[in-house]
């Protein structure tokens, strides 16, 4: 599969990969390598210039219109400022035409999943911290009970401690629900901590240059970051990433 914006501006070339149902895969690459483009292709928001991409055997748009639920978490929380936290989380349910009586229960459970109280749910997004806003954004994706969750560097703007904490929570939520996860990042430790498999991409035009299996079992605890094997894998991937950026 390949994508280009005009004949002289290839963005992605010769991408070939399979992602299995229920798997958590990270796409790791230097800035501007086309990771986000790849994620948007999978979401069916853009189409490949050549080649084919399928979700459960269908084109992404057909899969999405059918019974596959695809959710996307953006780099920015992208909450609607005129809606309360709860109404932001409700948005996908409204758009998908889910009966209203089912909303409350779904919203409550996804609020619980991300550690927000019923009190927080009535607040406007502007009264929340950056980390909290990202949590709401995550809840808005989870409320659809997705089959496939696409995450585009969602924690890039957060400080390191908060990022680690959200990584732990995300891994925990994935364990409970087992959606298929595709996570874009340029942070090596984040990719290793979260995923079962890491795909390393090189600079534009982007292509996958390495695939590394992460052998650690779930649940993944914070202590994992101190494990020598974890450090070794991070080192290896950092080396790959440096070569990719060259």
């Amino acid at each position: 599969m390949a994508v280009s914006f005009g004949p002289s501006r290839p963005v992605l070339k010769e991408i070939t990969c399979d992602i299995h149902e229920g798997e958590f895969v990270s796409l790791l690459g230097p800035s501007g390598c086309g990771k986000s483009t790849l994620l948007r292709l999978v979401a069916g928001l853009i189409s490949p210039t050549s080649g084919q991409l399928t979700l459960a055997g269908l084109s992404p748009v057909a899969a999405r219109r059918g019974d596959q639920r695809v959710a996307f978490v953006f780099q920015e929380p992208n909450l609607l400022p005129w809606r309360s936290v709860a109404d932001n989380i409700r948005l996908p349910l409204e758009l998908r035409g889910l009966p209203r009586r089912e909303h409350a229960e779904r919203i409550e459970s996804s609020l619980k999943l991300i550690g927000l109280t019923a009190d927080d749910s009535q607040k406007p997004p502007r009264s929340l911290s950056g980390g909290m806003r990202m949590r709401v954004s995550l809840a808005r994706a989870l409320v659809t009970q997705p089959d496939l969750l696409l995450l585009d560097e969602p924690f890039a703007a957060l400080d390191d401690v908060l990022r680690q904490q959200l990584n732990e929570e995300l891994a925990q939520i994935w364990m409970q629900h087992h959606w298929t996860g595709l996570f874009v990042t340029h942070n090596v430790a984040e990719a290793v901590f979260l995923s079962q498999r890491v795909l390393v991409m090189n600079k534009r035009p982007g292509t996958i240059i390495a695939e590394i299996k992460i052998p650690f079992s779930y649940p993944r605890k914070p202590e994992l970051r101190a494990d020598p094997d974890f450090a070794r894998l991070c080192g290896e991937l950092s080396q790959q990433l440096r070569e990719a950026a060259r």
């Binding site: 999405r64 219109r65 959710a71 992208n78 005129w82 948005l91 409204e94 998908r96 502007r126």
Partner: protein
């Protein structure tokens, strides 16, 4: 955290312009005395104040007529401007066909087409309101169109990913995003609507003994009653400021839901 006292802030915003006003009045009075200016060239401030008091009943009635026509014109431009902006936001072809004509509407000298308006709408309230509408339509239309079109692409993607219909995107995303723009347009339009009504009254009357500020300005000028002319202009200005302040207050109250902290208009 906002710790400034709102009362003090209000004083700080109102005292300096009032001080300047006092200085202008003093200089004005000195000029009238010093240069022995005739009252039909420039009346003394005191004469204007007297005219204001003597004419108060007429002025209040005139504000009532002009205000109703301006309110009518302004409400119509809010409704029509937003409706046209909705249509423009839905089709690029319609937008590129129609938009130049609204710029034309904005630039055509209203004085030139006012007689035409009287011919079409007849002599009376509706013609004044129509001139007010023409003058105040464009800011709402252009700000509204811009607000409906300038949507964060990520938000559009979010709606598309959830299989949102065109109608859902319009009502749940485009319209709420455009509210700040429409309100900014409304703020400009409110002042223009008053100006439009006054200009309309230069050409159109409401019938004998029923007249607005525009008619008053026109006739006192013709009769060289410059003190009364000043009183009418002064009243018009105060009225314009009051309308502007009211619309501003309403829009700031609504916008509190959209933005963080102290609400400033974009544009």
């Amino acid at each position: 955290m906002n710790t400034t006292n709102p009362g003090r802030k209000f004083l700080e915003s109102i005292v300096p312009p009032l001080l300047l006003f006092a200085v202008v009045v003093v200089v004005w009075h000195a000029c009238v005395l010093g240069f022995h200016l005739k009252p039909y060239v420039l009346p003394a401030p005191l004469a204007v104040a007297k005219a204001l008091v003597n004419d108060r009943a007429i002025l209040v009635r005139a504000v009532g007529y002009t205000g109703s026509a301006a309110l009518c014109g302004f409400s119509a431009s809010l409704l029509i401007g937003t409706a046209i902006a909705f249509v423009f936001s839905q089709s690029r072809i319609i937008r590129s066909c129609g938009y130049p004509y609204f710029i034309f509407l904005q630039t055509v000298p209203i004085v030139a087409i006012a007689p035409l308006i009287v011919r079409w709408c007849g002599n009376g309230f509706q013609s004044v309101a129509f001139v007010s509408l023409i003058l105040s339509l464009f800011p709402i239309l252009s700000n509204g169109t811009q607000g409906l079109l300038e949507i964060d692409p990520d938000l559009l993607d979010l709606f598309r990913l959830n299989n949102a219909s065109r109608w859902q995107i319009l009502t749940k995303l485009r319209f709420p995003s455009a509210v700040p723009g429409i309100l900014a347009g409304a703020r400009t339009s409110s002042g223009l609507a008053v100006v439009g009504a006054i200009v309309g009254e230069f050409f159109v009357g409401y019938g004998s003994k029923r007249f607005g500020l525009g008619y008053l300005i026109n006739t006192t000028n013709d009769q060289l009653q410059i003190d009364r002319l000043f009183a009418a202009v002064f009243t018009s200005t105060l009225f314009g400021i009051a309308i502007f302040g009211l619309v501003n207050l309403i829009s700031v109250t609504i916008l509190r839901r959209w933005y963080d902290g102290p609400v400033e208009h974009r544009n």
